[in-house]
């Protein structure tokens, strides 16, 4: 019932936020802080690694959407790493699969940025 957040650079222009745990109304403010902090520091290409996220709710989706809106103002992008079928289903149901790039691996997400 917690979330672990770690951030690292993939290259000069791109950072990866790795999330481990569950993203819900209690934990999503922490995710929002991490995303906002990165954007405030001038990083507009963000890969969010959801591979170890077992649960995401509408507040978590809202944080991802909010981040995407902000980076787009700078010509940036938010790509997601996700191969959990239950999580992918949530992106399908909400139609968010059409606005995010969703990839199985970090390599695929990085390739799509080039």
């Amino acid at each position: 019932m917690e979330i672990k957040i770690s951030i690292r650079k993939a290259n000069d222009a791109t950072s990866v936020i790795e999330l481990v745990g569950e993203i819900d109304v209690y934990t999503s403010p922490k995710v929002k802080d991490a995303v906002s902090g990165l954007i405030d520091s001038g990083i507009y290409n963000i890969i969010i690694d959801l591979a170890q996220v077992k649960y995401i709710d509408s507040t978590g989706l809202g944080v991802l959407i909010g981040g995407l809106k902000r980076v787009r103002e700078h010509g940036g992008s938010v790509h997601l790493i996700c191969n959990n079928p239950q999580i992918r289903k949530i992106f399908d149901i909400t139609g968010l699969v059409k606005i995010f790039g969703i990839f199985d691996t970090e390599e695929a997400a990085l390739r799509a940025l080039k």
Binding site: E22, D24, V25, Y55, D57, S58, G62, I90, I93, T94
Partner: protein
């Protein structure tokens, strides 16, 4: 579960307790032999209902009361005092003016459950009632 087999859960109307509701309903749906996918659906729908009750119901008292009932091959969940009566039109999708609260959450509840409705409850507030039918494969 039959009529007398209902389960009640009351938690504080606060974000940190939504996980308790989520895990409890997962156990209940598991007990009813819902498939793993359906358990996940019900879990998310109940969590979204609690999240909505927190956003909408700050003036409705400090607790969220959930009633679970199984039977006729479905799980029925009532969220007591989900929202004030004045939210009814907006919840029914008749937007009116002003921003919509938690539209994504309401959307997910409707997408994940088989039936969703609102009813005037005993406390002069709206109850949210939702049902998930069991799939027999």
């Amino acid at each position: 579960m039959t009529g007398s087999d209902s389960i009640e859960l009351a938690i504080p109307r606060r974000a940190e307790y939504v996980a308790v509701a989520r895990l409890s309903v997962a156990a209940i749906a598991g007990r009813l032999r819902f498939s793993i996918e359906d358990v996940e659906d019900v879990k998310l729908a109940v969590a979204e209902a609690c999240t909505g009750a927190i956003a909408r119901g700050s003036q409705l008292g400090g607790r969220i009361e959930l009633l679970f009932e199984g039977g006729d091959e479905a799980l029925h969940v009532r969220v007591v005092a989900f929202a004030p009566l004045s939210d009814l039109q907006e919840l029914r999708g008749d937007h009116g003016q002003g921003p919509r609260i938690g539209a994504l959450g309401s959307y997910l509840i409707r997408a994940l459950m088989d039936e969703v409705r609102y009813e005037k409850g005993s406390h002069g507030a709206l109850d949210l009632i939702m049902s998930k039918r069991q799939q027999f494969v």
